[in-house]
């Protein structure tokens, strides 16, 4: 079972790959939009990347609730 930190680190790589955000900036308390400057289309790519990487399904209606890195990590922990 992956730890919270493992998931955060893997997610950080994904955010870096898609949006160029430095991996160290991708911390649990950070908002994708407000803090990391991830736009809505990049956010879609990140969430689809999460589906591939973690084997979860993130419905479009659920994705609106994943505002922070912590929200996404918690969702992945709960559903993978």
């Amino acid at each position: 079972m992956a730890t919270t930190e493992d998931i955060r680190a893997q997610l950080a790589e994904l955010v870096n790959d898609v949006a160029g955000v430095p991996v160290d900036d991708v911390q649990l308390d950070k908002s994708f939009v407000d803090d990391l400057d991830v736009d809505s289309l990049a956010m879609v790519e990140i969430l689809v990347g999460c589906e591939e990487k973690f084997g979860v399904t993130i419905p479009d209606e659920e994705s609106k609730n994943l505002k922070t890195v912590g929200d996404a990590v918690a969702y992945i922990e709960a559903h993978s």
Partner: protein, 420 residues
């Protein structure tokens, strides 16, 4: 009429990653054609193409590049060079150097973001809709290159993308010329781009018998007007110019390569792919461009021909040049730089207009390579195999571009007035 001058040049082509290396390659008669290295070519009858010499991944930052189709990446590289060459700062804040309300972009693509369209279809078919990139549409749309350039330079007086297949970028240049003359803007970024080295268009052009199958001799495959020509070679790349009113150029102390003197547009309305064999539309475009520029046929000392290396197209164009120039054809040096670059489709007109501008500027016409055995009775003086000097004094040139659908666009340029 308001004089429109050319103040910046940019290109990334099969001969080089910028204008200087591309132009040097042209004058030296180098071929940019090579074997297609990707495995898919094994299945196809056509296994050659002209890739850009410098891959855009070496120039554009990775995260930015993944949101841009290859055609847009190439256009941004060419536009940045042209903008910088014009003495402007690519990263300047809006309104700090050029009035955004007086700046337009007119940059064409013949086909659009083909790789993005097809790669995302592959992803959809193979892995389902969730794998389709949310950037697909802004990547595949034909106006993406122009729009991304417009965003970068803050162009607010209009961002245009005329589409007329292989005449597209000459049409883009013509459109911007008109806009500047009409007083709707002072300065424009103009040109074209194409990136379609992909199995589908290679197969499709192959099925039309339009592309060369000289697979064992890639560098000798593009051979306009040669008796052994067997079709064009697909190239990729982009070429972009900055043009502006003479008044605007003078006010900011810009250097001037030459004058964008006129353009002529006609439509064959004859056949969807074959040129009208009478050449009426082609020589009509040339004559219109000459008249629009206030020139006479005898002023035209150089034609950069469409000259794609197809059996019928080259013959039709030779006749059109003869008719278009009349007796003045004897004093005119013709070339086809596609013999070296391959055919950049929607990027061709802009690249070849730049070649014409530089030919006048440096008084040297680049060669038509591989023209070892010219068709008999062409009646045009072609710079076969080696570059050919142009005389001193005022010079004018025409660049021809013809597109599927019957579009004919001729652009006339003159060298910079020495007294300026």
């Amino acid at each position: 009429m308001t004089e429109i001058v050319i103040t910046g040049l940019g290109a990334t082509t099969p001969l080089g990653g910028d204008v200087a290396s591309t132009w040097a390659g042209m004058l030296a008669g180098r071929s940019g054609v090579s074997a297609i290295t990707e495995g898919w070519a094994e299945e196809l009858p056509v296994k050659i193409a002209a890739y850009v010499k410098v891959d855009p991944s070496e120039v554009i930052e990775r995260v930015k590049a993944r949101r841009l189709d290859r055609s847009t990446q190439l256009a941004l590289i060419a536009a940045q060079e042209a903008w910088t060459d014009a003495g402007l700062d690519w990263d300047a804040e809006e309104g700090t150097q050029v009035d955004p309300q007086r700046l337009i972009v007119s940059v064409a693509s013949g086909i659009g973001g083909l790789h993005s369209l097809l790669n995302n279809w592959d992803a959809h078919r193979d892995k389902g809709y969730r794998r389709v990139s949310p950037f697909t549409i802004p990547m595949l749309m034909a106006n993406a290159p122009a729009a991304n350039i417009g965003i970068q330079v803050h162009a607010k007086a209009g961002v245009h993308t005329p589409v007329s297949a292989c005449a597209s970028s000459n049409e883009a240049i013509s459109l911007a010329l008109d806009q500047l003359r009409l007083g709707r803007a002072d300065i424009a970024v103009v040109g074209g781009t194409e990136a379609t080295i992909h199995p589908l268009p290679i197969a499709a052009f192959g099925q039309m018998q339009a592309v060369s199958r000289r697979n064992d001799e890639p560098e000798r495959a593009s051979r306009p007007w040669d008796v052994d020509r067997d079709g064009f070679v697909m190239g990729e790349g982009s070429a972009v110019m900055v043009i502006e009113t003479l008044e605007h150029a003078k006010a900011r102390g810009a250097k001037v390569y030459g004058t964008l003197a006129g353009s002529g547009i006609t439509a064959d309305s004859h056949d969807i792919v074959q040129p009208d064999p009478t050449g009426e539309g082609q020589f009509g475009a040339m004559r219109k461009a000459i008249a629009d520029a206030g020139l006479s046929a005898s002023d035209i000392r150089h034609v950069n021909a469409h000259g794609t290396s197809t059996p019928q197209g080259d013959l039709t164009e030779a006749g059109s040049i003869r008719t278009g120039l009349g007796s003045a054809v004897d004093g005119c040096v013709v070339t086809s730089t596609k013999s070296m670059t391959g055919h950049l489709l929607g990027g061709a007109g802009a690249l070849e207009t730049i070649a014409a501008v530089l030919a006048l500027h440096d008084r040297m016409v680049p060669p038509t390579i591989n023209l070892e055995n010219p068709e008999p009775d062409l009646g045009i003086d072609i710079a076969a195999l080696t570059a050919r000097p142009l005389p001193a004094g005022d010079l004018a040139a025409i660049n021809n571009s013809f597109g599927f659908g019957g579009a004919n666009v001729a652009v006339a340029v003159t060298n910079a007035n020495q007294s300026r």
